[in-house]
Symmetry: C2
Subunit: 475 residues, 2 copies
């Protein structure tokens, strides 16, 4: 029996859960990981969810090269300053020394905008709405499975619009898609809003973010959507002839979520026994375990019952796995599948067959429920919905317990000590005051909530506050 | 109106079709391309087809790092010799000079086998069946859109088995999957069989291949499946404890198809007017064009009829696009959609509305057929199936016309002149004789057909033939 550390030792628990449930493994290259089939299946479900939503918005998938010539990165000044320290460089290909070194994409604005400049001529070519699912490279100093790795997978969307208002509207539409992905599909509640200037994407005019809270009270940025204004259009000389016959620069957006949200999923929902997966992302929604003992061996009636239940579930579109293995005990299997986070378990023994009932257990509580055999499909559907709602509720409750409004730096420090999480604070918007909060609380500004009240006083300098902003320590 | 070169100027035609139908574009990095949404949609359909087939075989998707430490590549001698000249190297990451340089994967046996060595302990862990959809890098000297690029996309499967027979069987199962993909789904007939030793994958025991024929008579390798024997298991020290309690090396396979098959798809089926897409890979299966004239403007009855037809098609699961644009003439639209390869076109005008009939035209011929409105869904289903069969038949006929059995080098040369394609020739199996054929005919051995007759004499040295093998000039 594999055993896990308790979840209160979050860091060690997290690593062991990822390794033992075979979501991922360390690769023999510094800072890199292997995403194993159990982990990749979650990523595929996230991809399918987003691809459906993106298609609704008219976004189409494409593929742009991983190589970005250094001169391209240099075109947008803030962009290169932000990313150069993290770039990996190719200087030699085959037998030849390259004339210009190539960065492996840390993000693809530069290469994509260079193509947009070729493709966009007229207002009729707008909007341009593309997305790609790719690997990206950022040379990180300290790395953690899923949360921060030298190579990771993400989707990055890039769009161009005729007007500033359209670009802004599109960046917000994507933010809403991400909120559904996180809040609904993954049952991870998030604080949504704008980043303060100091935390903006390098080259963006506005960065919107979704911030989740981990069990240790640290925030995790789970997705971003950027309004790029005309910054990249100007840098890459993307111009279009508008209907008024004048040449203009279009307005851009870019946006992405990465495999790091699988790390958030593990941390937010898991418990001492292992993973707890929202039904939507679990490859197997129901595991069926025959109750075998020394007396009750695996016999024809158990086998055919197991397959029958499996078929009934399939009719409802519920994927299941009938664990017929004889080398493991039922207890071992219960633990194994609970560790792997399968939402529902059905037990079948001689008694169940006799009574035409089944014993069903949710991953999220300890109760076993008796269900009539003929109702199993319909009841499992209901149970899965309940699990989803229970997971959302539990995560939301944790988040709201860990949000505090503070009126002073002293209060912020006390709150971080007592119940680590987000604290909401009023600031004047000057970098100096923000930095003071950072230093004193060892945390960073995460998100300015939409419609946050503008009144009040800056907690540092006492002058009129420009906004309220959530601070937290962060991954 | 965009115009294309004639297909008989194959090379120029190919490039223009890829660019003008927006399948792809040249990237501003030597030898790299951008796969635009129209091209990527084809790749997504290929991915979906293969993922379904792989799942049936128990294969699961995963993700392994793009970086391969040089020392890993060095472990399998033939492997490094085969790939080193094409590797791109990362020697600097962020601010640091790396201790060991990293290759960007030209293929992933080395990194994947290093992980398998960690994961496999017992015969119970076998078979291991994984696949990944990734970018790969091979520093090519001369490049062509889709057919040969420095970076390309592919799927690469990697498996481990308990016995040699199981590995061989699995390599052949995958070969059969690829044959269905090419021959059925993409309507590209292929010659299937083994590669002679000189053309084997670097490190493989046996390489199976699928060879398609392009309109200029040149072969194109469309997919390979390798039986790796124990070569990589030994090199990477992958060992398992078998049920007889002895330690053994498992047997491996690896296999892949890449975005180059999109190039084959374009060349095999296209014509002077542009792309011809098999219905299964066409994003839009039917385009609906309202016949507008100066007199007949786009009115409510045309609009609602177009949408009604679209709905009827959707009920049958047939994706369609109603081209309501008023800035282009019907003739322009006909040409445009034919160039893009959409399989079916429906025309609706005032007369059609009055008679409750529709005019349907296949991309593959010149005939317009009248179809009763209420039968449109069912008839389009039939038309699409017919198109698929017509495309298969036409491509098969071309291939069989271009296969010749030759008895001498002189005959081979004459045949290559008169009707370029494959020639089947008997060889003794000595490298010297094979090389003589290569030099004299400027072609290469492509595939040893399964069950090819073993009798006869080597056309070069006259000694007993070991096998018959198809030669061709190749992309």
């Amino acid at each position: 029996m594999k055993s896990l550390p308790e979840k209160k030792n979050l860091s060690e628990w997290f690593t062991q859960v990822c390794l033992k449930t075979e979501l991922a493994d360390y690769a023999p290259v510094r800072g890199c990981m292997v995403i194993r089939p159990a982990g990749f299946a979650i990523w595929e479900r996230i991809r399918d969810f987003l691809d459906r939503e993106f298609r609704e918005l008219g976004v189409r998938n494409a593929y742009f090269p991983i190589f970005i010539p250094e001169s391209f990165l240099l075109k947008e000044k803030e962009h290169i300053e932000g990313f150069a320290p993290q770039c990996a460089w190719v200087e030699r290909g085959g037998e030849e020394e390259l004339e210009e070194r190539l960065a492996l994409r840390p993000t693809s604005e530069a290469i994509i905008c260079s193509m947009f400049a070729k493709w966009v001529r007229s207002y009729r070519d707008l909007p341009v709405l593309v997305n790609q699912w790719v690997n990206v490279i950022r040379w990180e100093k300290t790395t953690r499975l899923f949360l921060r790795t030298t190579e990771f997978l993400w989707q990055e969307g890039h769009t161009l619009h005729r007007t500033e208002a359209e670009a802004e509207e599109f960046a917000l539409k994507i933010l809403a898609v991400y909120e559904r992905l996180l809040g609904e599909f993954l049952a991870i509640p998030v604080l949504v809003g704008e980043k303060p200037e100091s935390e903006r994407f390098a080259g963006a005019k506005r960065t919107y973010t979704l911030e989740a809270l981990m069990p240790d009270g640290q925030a995790l940025q789970a997705g971003t959507s950027h309004n790029l204004g005309q910054n990249f259009s100007r840098a890459f000389e993307i111009r279009f002839l508008d209907s008024d016959n004048s040449e203009k620069y279009p307005f851009g957006t870019s946006w992405g979520v990465s495999t790091r949200i699988i790390g958030a999923l593990v941390m937010v929902h898991g418990d001492d026994r292992g993973l707890v997966l929202p039904p939507g992302v679990s490859e197997t929604k129901v595991v069926i375990v025959p109750i075998l003992t020394k007396e009750a061996k695996l016999n024809e009636s158990l086998l055919s019952k197991g397959r029958e239940i499996s078929d009934r579930l399939r009719e409802k579109g519920i994927s299941s796995y009938f664990d017929e293995r004889t080398e493991f005990s039922p207890g071992w299997k219960f633990n194994e599948w609970e560790m792997r986070g399968v939402p529902l378990r059905i037990e079948i023994g001689e008694e169940e067959i006799k009574n035409k009932t089944l014993c069903v257990k949710k991953r999220t509580n300890e109760k076993r429920e008796r269900v009539k055999e003929e109702e199993i499909g319909a009841r499992c559907e209901v149970f899965l919905k309940e699990i989803q709602e229970e997971m959302k509720k539990k995560a939301r409750e944790f988040l709201s317990e860990r949000i505090s409004r503070v009126e002073s730096l002293a209060e912020a420090k006390r709150v971080l000590q007592e119940k680590p999480g987000f604290f909401l604070i009023s600031l004047c918007g000057e970098r100096e005051c923000e930095d003071r909060v950072r230093q004193e609380t060892k945390s960073s500004p995460r998100v300015i909530p939409d419609g946050g009240k503008r009144g009040g006083r800056c907690v540092v300098c006492g002058s009129e506050a420009k906004y309220e902003v959530y601070f937290a320590r962060a991954y």
